[in-house]
């Protein structure tokens, strides 16, 4: 487990978190390469099925990064996303996965630092949780 490198999928809103990721890159802020970024037009566009499929395909952690409260480009996509995340968290518990493996975060376009910080914190959290039990069994 010492050298466990978690696979983390980050669904990032084009208008905020994705831009923040870009900024982190151009500012040469280091963040873990474990985080695989998927750009989405709005965090509200991330479907429960996308999240569940990510876990089924072997992700150890997933997070959805949307705009700050009140800043959604599409009015309330981030609010919808938060509700959906809460719903899928319950489903993960039913399946037998720790709901902590899924998280909703809010980052604005200018927060390159915060993006890098969130990526590191979540990677560390998942590293502590250990590999997803799904992936472990699937590879047997």
């Amino acid at each position: 487990m010492e050298n466990f490198e978690p696979v983390i999928v980050a669904f990032c809103c084009h208008y905020c978190a994705y831009t923040a990721a870009d900024m982190a890159g151009s500012q040469r802020l280091p963040y873990p390469s474990n985080v695989k970024i998927i750009r989405v037009p709005c965090s509200g566009q991330v479907d429960s099925l996308h999240i569940v499929k990510a876990f089924e395909k072997g992700a150890d952690g997933v997070y959805v990064a949307g705009c700050l409260d009140g800043d959604c480009h599409f009015k309330n996509g981030n609010v919808k996303a938060a509700k959906r995340i809460a719903y899928v968290q319950k489903y993960l518990e039913e399946i037998g996965l720790e709901s902590e493996r899924l998280e909703m975060v809010n980052i604005s376009a200018g927060m390159g630092h915060r993006f890098a910080e969130v990526a590191s914190t979540i990677t560390e959290k998942i590293r502590k949780l250990g590999p997803s039990p799904i992936k472990a069994s699937a590879s047997l």
């Binding site: 099925l49 569940v52 039913e94």
Partner: protein
């Protein structure tokens, strides 16, 4: 529409435990609209079941399929070859759909993935509420378009009980008093005198009181 909710995953896992190949079958009608058993929910459940299986160290082959209406023999008939290839069917239709599969494919185990709830309407996005109990003798014409059978906790046909408070039912502040709604409607329509007419005791034969009901349209029936 007929509304439904997914059963707890634990119960479903138990149902399909002995089987290796599952046909997970959605329905495109009511349960799609109430987000319980359409294509999307089939995907979610397939993923969940698969993960739960993997976690316990086994795996399961889940074929996902959604048909137009599981309550209709025409569509159910088309499943023949698919059902041949499955050890069991997990149906995400309402109870009508599940039974249609059971009746047509007599030697195939079929399990309900949903709890069928009620005939209801959408109040707003994501919220469905009971509106009809299928009593078979609709009273809406004399109750201002609000149903006391399905919406009053005591099915009172002649007015509100003593527990109606500020428009809410005694059983919960989340439930509107049906008779308050009826009264408000009668007032708006200028029909308050109608309240004084006593609605006589209901003949429940039309409402299932005389056993399973059936409709036969002579001109259509084959």
């Amino acid at each position: 529409m007929i509304t439904a909710e997914r059963k707890p995953l634990e119960e479903l896992i138990e149902y399909i435990k002995p089987f290796k190949r599952i046909l997970l079958l959605g329905c495109n009608e009511c349960v799609t609209v109430c987000a319980a058993g359409g294509r999307k929910e089939v995907g979610m459940l397939a993923s969940g079941l698969q993960m739960a299986r993997l976690k316990s160290g086994t795996s399961v082959e889940i074929q996902q399929h959604t048909i137009e209406r599981q309550c209709d023999p025409e569509y159910v008939e088309e499943l023949a070859s698919m059902i041949d290839g499955a050890d069991a069917v997990l149906s995400m239709a309402c109870g009508c759909g599940v039974q249609q599969i059971a009746m047509r494919y007599k030697d195939k185990p079929v399990f309900p993935a949903l709890n069928t709830k009620f005939m209801g309407a959408s109040e707003r996005q994501g919220v469905w509420a009971e509106r009809c109990q299928g009593c078979g003798d609709c009273l809406l014409g004399i109750t201002g378009g609000i149903c006391p059978i399905s919406r009053c906790a005591k099915q009172l046909m002649n007015g509100p009980c003593g527990g109606s408070t500020t428009g809410k039912c005694e059983i919960s502040e989340d439930v509107d008093c049906a008779w308050q709604l009826i009264w408000d409607r009668l007032k708006t329509l200028g029909l308050t005198e109608r309240y004084l007419d006593i609605i006589p005791a209901k003949d429940w034969r039309t409402g299932g009181g005389s056993g399973p009901r059936k409709i036969i349209r002579e001109d259509l029936a084959e």
